[in-house]
Amino acid sequence: MDWFPLLNSLRIAGISTAFIFFAGLFAAYYIAKTPPVVKGLLDVVLTLPLVLPPTVIGYALLRILGPNRLVGAWVLHVFGVRLTMTWWSAVFATSVVIFPLMYRTARGAFESFDETLAYSGQSIGLSNTYIFWRIRMPYCRQGILAGTVLAFARALGEYGATSMVAGYIPGVTATVSTTVYQLWRTNDDALAFRWVTVNLAISFVVLLAVNLIEKSNEKSKPDRYRM
């Protein structure tokens, strides 16, 4: 069995999760501070990928990144690099798809944060950067961790947008999910079943991890201390 699709899926999911981790955190942090109207609007726009069919996202990405389109043509012209049909093209697709997961869980975690902790930190002279990374993040770590794992899992299984933007080129852009589809299409049922098993195993482990994180969250919730 050629393990390339698994490795490829893992690196795509890994890179996009790492990227979206920061993007989602900062979007959640800064959008919470905007006026209500802006917040409502941005919230809708940023959550949209969660409900849109992945093929719509794939279509939109191709309209932007395709070699004859605005951004794609410019990058091709300036750097001589095609943005589609490479293994890392899938990073664009998965990033857009998993962004809302990270953004929304981070926002939920930040909303549970006791702002007086940040204020008292400012009052004793701690910098806002220190407060964000050393007080806000540890306080919200379980929620953010759960969101990250969930986003990673979703990225691993992403099919629709990935297949449109990166296609299926064996040994080049093939991921676990596109491989399963290809094998089924070519009647290689036995191998398809093996990949399905791999997929199930990964998903199982990930969901178990999320549950464990949430359980430890309930047990050691920092704001549970009483006066």
Partner: protein, 358 residues
């Protein structure tokens, strides 16, 4: 060392307009919930931004809307202690206190000042604990240590005892009083608790609906709170509307009786719309039948009596005035048990009648 505050801020329908100043002393903002006292503190600390005005601490302008000065909370160095103490829950006591010392660039000095403050607050055996493992009093001590190690210009205390059990308060008030005294600079204390305010502060500003109703030394404010809500906040249970009838005479319309008032207070009785008397200032006049009858002696019906641990609160209503508002009278336990009657002669001494603005 001083603070000067003159700010305005609108919050929907609520309008805050506060002028305060204080030197090396403890100024208490006494007010009910929604009076704007905590908002004032947050404006001073830089957490909330006033619409207009200026805030100056020790000669440093922290905020000035006209000169467009608005220092960050970090630059202000106003040590604000929150009512829930806001200790960082994932850090130990020592890490919490160290966080307060981060401003000091010299590592040696930093360690020294942390060690000193840990010693001073007797936290040596608690340094490894997390806030969740501490009692309310210990949390308060850690919060004060963390603030003081950051060397603030002034100390701002927001309801310092609201998170504590009643029996703990008394001892912790003494502790806090010592902390305030050794701090030696301006302290602004916010509270709705009159006992706390009386014990801890030098001067009191009564806040009501976003405005300063009265300012004075704690003795002045408790003797003559000036306004109706000031009287209520300082524990005056009996307040009635009044109508002026003569030089020293007013009609307490809610109680259905006429009252002579102290000449000194009667002078500017023009804008005074209320009279009040504290429940313990009402005196039994049962045997006052010799010599000149004292002023303001009336017969009251006893409607009810409420037993307290060491006293009775007797509910009175002027006899023959069935529409009148009842009054509360505090009476020593043995004294009331001796005289307990269905109707009683009491005196409302003119010098104890508070004349109050709205």
């Amino acid at each position: 060392m001083s603070i000067y505050v003159d700010i305005e801020k609108s919050y929907g329908t609520f309008h805050l307009s506060v002028q305060l100043d204080a030197g090396d002393e403890t100024l208490a903002l006494l007010g009910g919930s929604g009076s704007g006292k905590s908002l004032t503190l947050k404006c001073i600390a830089g957490i909330e931004r006033p619409d207009r005005g200026s805030i100056v601490v020790d000669g440093v302008t922290l905020f000035d809307s006209e000169r467009r000065i608005d220092l960050s909370p970090q630059e202000r160095r106003t040590g604000l202690v929150f009512q829930n103490y806001a200790l960082f829950p994932h850090m130990t006591v020592l890490e919490n206190i160290r966080a307060g010392a981060r401003r000091e660039p010299d590592a040696k000095k930093r360690t020294d000042s942390v060690d000193r403050i840990v010693d001073r607050f007797g936290l040596g055996c608690l340094t490894g604990h997390t806030p969740a493992m501490l009692s309310g009093g210990q949390q308060q001590r850690v919060a004060l240590a963390r603030i003081l190690v950051s060397e603030p210009r002034i100390l701002l205390l927001d309801e310092p005892f609201s998170a504590l059990d009643g029996h703990l308060r008394h001892r912790l008030e003494d502790e806090l009083k010592q902390v305030i005294e050794s701090f030696g600079k301006t302290v602004v204390l916010v509270s709705h608790n009159r006992r706390e305010v009386f014990r801890l502060s030098d001067r009191i500003a009564v806040l009501e609906e976003g405005r300063v109703g009265a300012v004075g030394t704690r003795e002045e404010i408790f003797r003559n709170p000036g306004t109706r809500s000031g009287a209520a906040l300082t524990g005056c249970k009996n307040i009635s509307r009044i109508r002026r009838k003569g030089d020293r005479l007013v009609e307490a319309t809610d109680w259905g009786i006429d009252l002579f008032v102290d000449a000194e207070l009667a002078d500017d009785a023009e804008q005074k719309e209320y009279a009040g008397i504290r429940s313990h200032d009402i005196a039994w006049a049962g045997h006052a039948n010799s010599g000149n009858p004292p002023e303001n002696v009336y017969r009251f019906d006893v409607l009810d009596e409420i037993e307290n641990p060491f006293s009775y609160t007797v509910i009175l209503r002027a006899q023959g005035q069935s529409d009148a508002e009842p009054m509360q009278w505090d009476m020593d336990k043995p004294a009331w048990e001796r005289i307990r009657t269905p109707s009683v002669d009491v005196c409302l001494p003119p010098m104890s009648i508070l004349l109050l603005k709205k």
